[in-house]
Structure formats: C-alpha cells, structure tokens
Amino acid sequence: MVLIQGKRLAHLLEVRDLKTQFDTRWGVLKAVDGVSFDLDAGETLGIVGESGSGKSITAMSIVGLVPSPAGRIESGSITFDGEDLVKKSQDELREIRGTKLAMVLQDPMASLNPMFRIGDQVGEGLMVHRGMRGAALRDKVLGLLRAMRIPSPEARMSAWPHQLSGGMRQRVVGAIGISCEPKLLIADEPTSALDATIQLQYLTLLQELQERTGLAIIFITHDFGVVARLCHRAAVMYAGRIVELAKVDDIFARPRHPYTQGLLASIPDPTRPAGRLSAIPGQPPELHRLPPGCPFAPRCAKADARCIAERPPLEASAERHDVACWHPD
C-alpha cells in the first residue's frame, strides 16, 4: 500500500464496479458487468476465465483501449496511483500508458512492427517519454534485452522481428513493456502461444523482475497452472463478473464457487494417471441475453429458484475469500 497525502492508505490500483459495454446489432453486450478489485505494488493478480468471460475487456478498460465507438466504460472507477483513469483524456492516458502502466499482449507479432529493427522498437518509449538519445539510449536498450535474457543482445538490436523465435519475440515485447519502469504491468495471455519450457522461462523472468522492482502485475490467462505458479491472488471471471476472488492457495485448496470447482475438476493433470474428466455441462451464456439471476445457474447442479431469479453479489469474507454465490462451498 502507498501513503497518499500522509493520511489515507490506498492500493496502487482500485477498480470499483466497472461496467464496460458494447453496442451490437443484437443489443447491448455487457462484457464487464460490475467488476471490483484492488492491487498493491509487488503483487500479482491472476484473472482467470474462459473466452467471453470479460477478462481481456477488464484489462482493456484499465489501459483505456476499449474499442470505440462500439464499446465504452459505462460506469465505475479505476483509480491508479491516485488518479481516476476513467476521467482521463486519450492524451493523458497515452502518457500514463507509456510510463507508469504497460501492457503485453498474447501475439508478439501484433505488438511488434515488422518494419523496424528490435533495438529501435525497444528504445522508442525511452526516446518519447524520457527523451533519451544516442549512446545512453543504446546502453539502456542493451540492458533491457539482457534483463529479458535475450541471447547475444548486441546482435539482436539490429535484427528484425521475423528473425526471432516466438519466445524471444515475447521477451522483446516484455522489454518494451518494462522500458520506462512501469508500476503496473498488465499481461494478457502472454504465454499462451509459447511451449511449456519457454513459458516457464518467461514466467520466471517476470517473477525475478517483480522481486527486483516491486512491479505489480495483472496476469490474464485461462490456464490455472500459470496462476498456480505465478500469482499471489486470483479472480475467477464468468459472464463479465468476478465470481470468486482469493489468495491462490485458498482458491486451489478450497474453491467456493461451483464454477471454480467445476473448472478445477475439468483440468487434465499431467502428474496424475488417466480417468474420465469431469466436464461442466452446457455452454457459457450469450452476453447480450444474460439471465436475470446468476449467469452460471443454467449449468449449476446447486441452482434453485433464487439463483434463477436473483443475481448473487460478490460477498467479502473475513478470510478475504470472496465469492458470488447463494450456495457457496
């Protein structure tokens, strides 16, 4: 926690009742529907969920990159380092994004410009936001490439993106992300396209970086193995809402929401011999036709009349193991 104006203890990031919606020809799509969470410096929060759960749009809302005009932040606040990002103009956001807030996406080729050399792309943020030039810039870029464990960084400076392997490209994007020493890094499935051995290298790199710099990380993923390895806390999202939020060890040891329980049971574990996988029946709901009650009710074995009629709020618990369910545990 950080001290603001010497009195109030605040989190580095506070998201409160965030609602992000899209206008579609089928009606209003509630991609993020009342999401709240906090994040402190040096902490990693995993946001887990399946496609369409709203995890990526939550990230896009924080960095101010919700596709417009179809999408907009309808209500809520995002307080980052003492400022409400929802109220910022695009110019102000661009300054914050380049310096204090960075984002890494799944596909490094979409983040890298194929027409520029690696060194120029890693150095761009430093040139624009820090005014660095010449030898100082070059040294800093080399240091970043070294920090991301890119082999023979001097030679890679002048390489083109297509000449690097997928794992190396993702590390270059990571180097761009941390170039201006951000306080918060939002990573949206950065390792989903990487192989197991390369993924683990990348995650370990992030952990080392965090220990050194106190970086806060939001890691968006569908992979509970990654959450188990990297994160301190995890938020499980379903149909635009957080349904469970707790410390990682608690989520795995005592999942409280039937959806989290079902998901954990349906993951094939490479360290265990075969058995029939327990699958969650049914399909996720369509976001433009959400039921009035709990969105998971149609797939839930515990659902009763109240679940179908009334949406359960995310209830805070004394052990900081929050769950949005009428019949938890």
Partner: protein, 321 residues
C-alpha cells in the same frame, strides 16, 4: 495387436532454396527425420512436443496430404503411397481428420447439412435423403440437437463447431481419425466435454486416433501410447503410463518438469530448462538435445543416440537411457 497405421523411418525434408529463376537447394529443413511408430486399431497414439518439432508434418503425412522424402508409411499393411486410385479413395474415407480451429475448417457459407454430408456425396453413392439421414445420425452422436443441421457454423460456439467437425469426420465411418490439436483451442470446461465425447466414440466405433497435442495433461488423459518429439525425431515412446511415470529421456523429463499442473505446490516446483531450440536447418552433430541437456557428456556431441528398447514397447533415444 493389429497395427493400422505404421511409420517406418519416415523422413520429410523441405528444401531451402536460393535464386529466383534457377532455384537450387542450399539446405534442408529436416521437419521429420527418421520417425517410426504405429497406431493400433481402436487405440490412441499421441504425439507431443513443442512447436516446430514436426508433429503437424506427421499429421499431414498420415493423411496423405504430403509425401515423405524417405521411409515408408503403411496403412493396413499396404504402402500408403503406392495405392491404386480406387484404394486411394478408400484410404481417404478410412482416415479422417479434425483440426485445431473449427472456424477455419468449416466453410462459413455452407449449412451444417452440406458440411457434414459432403464426404458422403463425394465418396459414396448415396441419395440426398440417405446422406441427410447419415448426417442426422452423426450430429446426434456428437451431441448436437436435430435443428443444428440447417444452421450455419457462426451460429454455434467454439465447442459446438468442433463437434460439427467431428461429425463430418465420423460420417464415413473411418477407422482412424487424425486429431491435430483438435481440443487445444477450446476452453477448459468445453475441452473436457469434447475429450469425453471422443473417448466415447472411440469405444463405440473401435476408432483409432492419432492425437497430436502439446498439452501434456490432455495427452496423459487420452492416449494409450505416446511419442515425445524433439526436432523432427521421436526421442521417447511407449505406453503412456510408462512414459509419464518412468521418463527415460532427459527431454521428456524437462518437458514434464516444465509443465504447470493446476496445483500451487507442484506448479511452484516446476523446473526451467535453459536454452533455445536449435534450428531444424542447422542441426547439431550428435544428439539434437545435447545443447540443452543437463546430462550431456562428450559422446552426446559426437554420436546421434539410437533408439534403445527398454522393454514393454518403451523406447528412448538417449545414450544414458
């Protein structure tokens, strides 16, 4: 034991060419470099490995979508690349495929009825009514409602689209289905549904699967035998439980050791192996894993290790296995 599909020292080299008018091969990408394994009738053989190791090239060869540059592929004891035209037709009906991304493997302008009956119309002499009836049966088998038949692919979710692709593969009653990362793109809860569906279909129809994946958890759950690939070669193969519980090749150990199980204690214990995968054009002399191997000795840099038989069909290509 009846082997349905057998790969015998199969090679697929892609030339790397230079020049514009007179293209000359200056090197070869050894995508598949001496691979031997067999898929038994009614069983699942899984191939697992990192991207670029040659898994998908093997899938293409097994489907006869590509031709090997060396070695032999046999299907039901016949050389799959020396078939008469009529036998080729029978081969295509017998060996079907399901790919990773149903959005790109299903024609968005065709209704499900056209998609699922197309193999029948091409390969069998059937009336429209018969084809539609067979399609209805196939859709029922994959758990789709009857009214699915007149809809378009975009009206379905990802998991349901993959069910349509499976129905299309089933409609000719094949004996082997090549599943190339067929469940990799699906969400966890849907993935488990499709894995269970495939297991049920296998029992019912005595189907064999060549299951290609990079997710070790899925492979362990679904396969009878597994081959671990590294840079164009199977470095270890055997009954799935033996390979996972008695890992003989250091690469298998590294791959399993680096995978992240859904359990904080085990995931935090996962171990890194350093280094990058060498290029398949410029393969090192000796063992191709030596540059990343914690056990590498002098011999590994000089002699490419042959496959050693460890008993019970479990084999590993390592000097120290």
């Amino acid at each position: 034991m009846s082997d349905l599909l057998t790969f015998n020292a199969v090679q697929r080299y892609f030339p790397v060419t230079k020049g514009v008018l007179r293209r000359t091969a200056v090197a070869h990408v050894r995508a598949v470099d001496g691979v031997s394994f067999s898929v038994e009738a009614g069983k699942t053989f899984a191939l697992v490995g990192e991207s670029g190791c040659g898994k998908t090239t093997i899938a293409k060869l097994a489907l006869r979508l590509d031709t090997p540059t060396g070695g032999q592929i046999r299907f039901r004891d016949r050389d799959a690349f020396a078939l008469e035209p009529e036998e080729q037709r029978e081969f295509r009906a017998n060996v079907q495929a399901v790919f990773q991304d149903p959005t790109s493997s299903l024609n968005p302008r065709h209704r499900v009825s056209t998609i699922v009956t197309e193999p029948l119309v091409i390969n069998r002499n059937v009336t429209k009514a018969e084809a539609r009836k067979a399609a209805m049966e196939a859709l029922a088998e994959v758990g789709l409602p009857e009214n699915a038949i007149d809809r378009f692919p975009h009206e379905f979710s990802g998991g349901q689209r993959q069910r349509i692709a499976i129905a299309r593969a089933l409609v000719l009653k094949p004996s082997l289905i090549v599943l190339d990362e067929a469940v990799s793109a699906l969400d966890v809860s849907i993935q488990a549904q499709v894995v269970n569906l495939l297991a049920g279909l296998q029992r019912k129809h005595d189907l064999a699967y060549l299951f290609i994946a990079h997710n070790l958890g899925i492979v362990r759950q679904t396969s009878d035998r597994v081959g671990v690939m590294y840079l164009g070669r199977i470095v270890e193969q055997g009954p799935t439980d033996a390979v996972f519980s008695k890992q003989a090749h250091p690469y298998t150990r590294a791959l399993i050791g680096a995978s992240l199980p859904p359990n904080p204690v085990a995931a935090r214990a996962a171990k890194i192996i350093q280094g990058e995968v060498p290029s398949a054009i410029d393969l090192p002399k000796g063992c191709r894993f030596a540059s990343r191997c914690p056990m590498a000795a002098e011999i590994c840099g000089q002699i490419d290790p042959p496959e050693k038989d460890l008993g019970g069909g479990h084999k590993a290509a390592c000097h120290f296995a």
